[in-house]
């Protein structure tokens, strides 16, 4: 199981993977928006996505965006 986390506080601008999607390691899972920057959140491993957030939600540094198993 891999937890894709927010590396910085921000809001979930766009989800690129949906619940149950299969992603490969290195795929884009979501893009956070913070300070007008688009911060990519990548899948560290390949597997099936379980989302922990929805678009527009504010996340803190270290929060889990998605679990990939």
């Amino acid at each position: 199981m891999y937890a894709a986390r927010a590396e910085i506080v921000g809001n979930v601008w766009r989800l690129h993977a949906q619940e149950g999607d299969h992603v490969a390691a290195g795929d884009l899972v979501a893009v956070l928006e913070t300070m007008k920057m688009e911060i990519p959140v990548l899948a560290g491993e390949s597997g099936t996505v379980r989302l922990h957030v929805r678009e527009g939600q504010i996340v803190q540094e270290g929060d889990v965006i998605a679990e990939i198993a």
Binding site: I8, V9, E33, T34, M35, K36, M37, E38, I39, E61
Partner: protein, 501 residues
């Protein structure tokens, strides 16, 4: 008869010396992952055959050696002093004699102007020596601080280093740790358990990962002792032997041609899209090895040594690929420390800027981002070595000022033609300046885009700064290297003297 006696005596004292020397080459008990003895470590660090041990026969009064091997050798032909803890004697614990011996090496390095490398493998102050051990450690720290004004100090952590053996490295310039072998902590697992109830391993409390990623106490993680020695030699290759000494120049090398060719296309036009700043550095700096320090700690700024036209330079850059390249409390401290070091030894600081600002929020304010950000400002202002700054994309607000601006004393600053410099980004500025117009507009989104474009063109473009004489010029990416090289030549820094004041 007399003659025969003399001859016998001669061979006796030769044999005795041979025996004494052999004793010096005793090997440590293999403990943990340690591979070499204290003396072997010192020999491996320096140029082959160049190590000369100082006071090798010093003893601590209990039939043991001093607990540390000190001496002098060469790295790439230049002198360097070494103090290598002997973990075979009382686990390297620092007693009165050991402290005195380390101080001898420190004084020699400071007086003669040689860098000093501390090879640390010590459990801390030697309990049996009581106050004498504490006093000796304290005097050693005082010399660490004194040495900061004069010579580079590098600490290697090759075993568990507790208490005093952890403080001394913290007073030196750069600390290199071997993964799963070196640890630094004030107190080990037993005392931590007794005090806080935490079940933490030595590696959890003070391993290389803890200190090179989370705490920032150490600056480089390596996988074995040989790599630690290699990294030390590489680090020394960028540094003068002492404050005011000549810079170690190397043969100039053009950047990799492919990287140089791609330079104009590395930075995305859209200010919100991230990229790898290393690709900018690849196209500007000399080809060949660079040494990045603290790569895993506060990675939104890069701190590294490289060469420009064969001259060593310190490079500070935002890294948009990590946390968007923001400045925050940790990255400010990392950057300030690096600039302060470069300034002390006359190394030019080349700053590459693409910064969205200082990170807002209660977490950062709670970490003291104001105080830590101010350290960055102070470091630039106080630095007397050449400061060259290139804004490659955006530089907003206080973070513009903090990243080596002309205001803080940059000798030269340039912006690439696509750069934006302003008090805040277009989005925020338009929302503030045109609040009423946006509220009353039929199509606020369209008006917002229009006003943002206007702001970008009239306020944020680098020509405004260049016309005001604050930027020296607006340049193209492919012109950057030549500008930097020419600028360094005008600042004539290789003398290592204070050239700015």
């Amino acid at each position: 008869m007399t003659t025969i006696n003399t001859e016998t005596a001669t061979s006796d004292h030769r044999a005795r010396l041979a025996q004494r020397r052999q004793d010096r080459f005793r090997h440590v008990e293999p403990r943990g992952r340690r591979e070499y003895t204290a003396r072997e470590r010192a020999e491996m660090l320096v140029d082959a055959g160049s190590f000369v041990e100082m006071t090798p026969m010093r003893v601590d009064g209990n039939g043991n050696g001093a607990g540390v091997v000190i001496g002098w050798g060469r790295v790439d032909g230049r002198g360097v002093v070494i103090a290598s803890h002997d973990a075979a004697v009382a686990s390297g614990a620092i007693g009165a004699v050991m402290a005195e011996t380390i101080q001898k090496a420190q004084r020699f390095a400071i007086d003669k102007g040689y860098p000093i490398v501390y090879i640390n493998d010590s459990g801390g102050a030697r309990i049996h020596d009581g106050i004498l051990a504490l006093h000796g450690c304290g005097e050693m720290f005082a010399l660490n601080v004194l040495a900061q004004k004069r010579i580079p100090q590098i600490s290697l952590i090759l075993g568990p280093c507790a208490g005093a053996a952890a403080y001394s490295p913290a007073l030196t310039d750069w600390t290199i740790m071997v993964r799963e072998q070196g640890q630094m902590f004030l107190t080990g697992p037993d005392i931590v358990k007794a005090t806080t109830g935490e079940d933490a391993s030595a590696e959890d409390i003070g391993g290389a990962q803890m200190h090179t990623e989370t705490s920032g106490v150490a600056h480089l993680e390596v996988t074995n002792e040989g790599e630690a020695f290699h990294a030390t030699r590489l680090l020394l290759s960028y540094l003068p032997s002492h404050v005011g000494a000549a810079m170690p120049l190397v043969a100039p090398r053009r950047p990799d041609p492919v990287a140089a060719e791609r330079l104009p296309y590395v930075v995305p036009d859209k200010a919100s899209v991230v990229f790898d700043m290393n690709k900018v550095l690849d196209g500007v700096l000399d080809a060949g090895p660079r040494l990045e320090l603290m790569p895993a700690h506060a990675p939104s700024v890069l701190t590294l040594f490289g060469h420009l036209d064969g001259r060593p330079v310190g490079v500070l850059a935002n890294q948009p690929n990590s946390r968007g390249g923001v400045l925050d409390a940790k990255s400010s401290v990392k950057a300030a420390r690096f600039i302060e070091f470069c300034g002390r030894f006359g190394l030019p600081v080349v700053t590459f800027v693409d910064v969205p600002g200082f990170l807002p929020g209660t977490v950062e304010e709670g970490r003291g981002v104001i105080t830590h950000g101010a350290k960055l400002l102070k470091a630039y202002v106080e630095t007397t070595s050449p400061l060259l700054t290139v804004v490659v994309r955006k530089a907003y607000g206080g973070a513009y000022i903090a990243m080596g601006s002309a205001s803080l004393g940059a000798d030269y600053s340039w912006a690439w033609s696509g750069a934006e410099i302003a008090v805040m980004g277009p989005g925020g500025a338009v929302a503030l300046l045109h609040r009423r117009a946006l509220r009353d507009a039929d199509d606020p989104e369209a008006l917002r885009d229009e006003l943002a474009a206007e702001y970008r063109e009239n306020v944020a473009r680098p020509y405004v700064a260049a016309e005001a004489g604050i930027l020296d010029d607006v340049i193209l990416p492919e012109e950057t290297r030549d500008r930097l090289v020419d600028a360094l030549a005008t600042l004539g820094f290789e003398s290592g003297a204070d050239v700015r004041r």
